[in-house]
Symmetry: C2
């Protein structure tokens, strides 16, 4: 039953954020009696920290380090996976890390730490693939991997917000055009000139 | 008193989001008795729509069309203004449009429409400055102004989330490096080659 609660919490938090997703919403979605919640979790906050860890583990970060695949292809596939997931949910689900970062950054130390940990792991995986791309000569060598990863991840979080606001993939399309067609395509421009 | 309530609501919504900012928090911050709220507004939602309009009017969008200033300088100053405001508040305040877009996109038609209207006006102002930059030959002529504006605004919203999560200007620094140092600097690379 703990497992069902974590899964339901992930979906509720992704759809509605921390504040709007109530314990009863979560236990209802999990098919659990509300009273059973506190047998498994001390608080909604404690559950949120577990949900954040679980969510991070589903982001396929390990694929970003797969040396059998070209680094730019790894990066593109990563964001295609994330995009397809959100489009598949009809824009009803956002990114748990982004939601929590945006919503409750001022409220809970534990969740802020969890969100930061999620961002750090994600950013490191992106920076690794970007460093591989620089080393392979596939992108502008002036792109510093850490800064670029930080920027790309921020831009992605923003694209999710925009896509959900307008329930359209246009912000995702703009992300792919600008990141893969422009920012990470610089060395191709250099080569052709 | 209505005026004080709108101003207080803007700050509370920017700091805590729609769900977490209660009517009592807002009237307390405004120095108004809670009971007076409904003399001025039908609901917290109605107040949110007014706050969104007011917030949009404070974004200095008109400066993005100031033909006396180089288009790239206009764009840079715009985001410097927005950054300095958030840093000045110690990362306690986010962007009202971004907060609402992220948090309550699934909940309220009126607020969703208000957030969308805010985004549309902002995006159009950015696209106008970008079109000026293309025309002036200051940027890669392959940058389509609408798509680029959509991307830059999303990237900015994401940078705010990241900056607030880690209470650091590093995500803003990455935004300026990547947008003004790379994406909007492409034609300079072309010229030098």
């Amino acid at each position: 039953m703990r497992e069902e609660i974590v899964e339901a919490a992930m979906a509720e938090f992704r759809a509605h954020g921390f504040n709007a997703a109530g314990v009863k919403d979560i236990t209802d979605a999990a098919g659990a009696p509300k009273g059973s919640f506190y047998n498994h979790f001390e608080s909604k906050e404690a559950l949120a920290v577990v949900a954040l860890e679980r969510y991070g583990a589903t982001r396929r970060l390990q694929d970003l380090a797969d040396q059998r695949i070209e680094p730019l292809k790894r990066l593109r596939r990563h964001f295609e996976f994330l995009r397809d997931e959100i489009v598949g949910y009809g824009y009803t689900q956002g990114c748990l890390i982004g939601n929590f970062g945006n919503e409750i950054v001022d409220h809970s130390v534990a969740i802020r730490a969890g969100a930061q940990q999620g961002v750090d792991a994600w950013r490191a995986a992106l920076a690794g693939a970007l460093a591989d791309a620089v080393q392979a000569g596939a992108v502008d060598p002036g792109l510093e991997p850490q800064t670029t990863a930080l920027f790309i991840l921020s831009a992605w979080q923003g694209a999710i917000i925009a896509a959900r606001t307008e329930r359209s993939s246009a912000p995702f399309d703009a992300f792919f055009t600008m990141i893969f067609g422009k920012l990470l395509a610089a060395s191709q421009n250099d080569r052709s000139s």
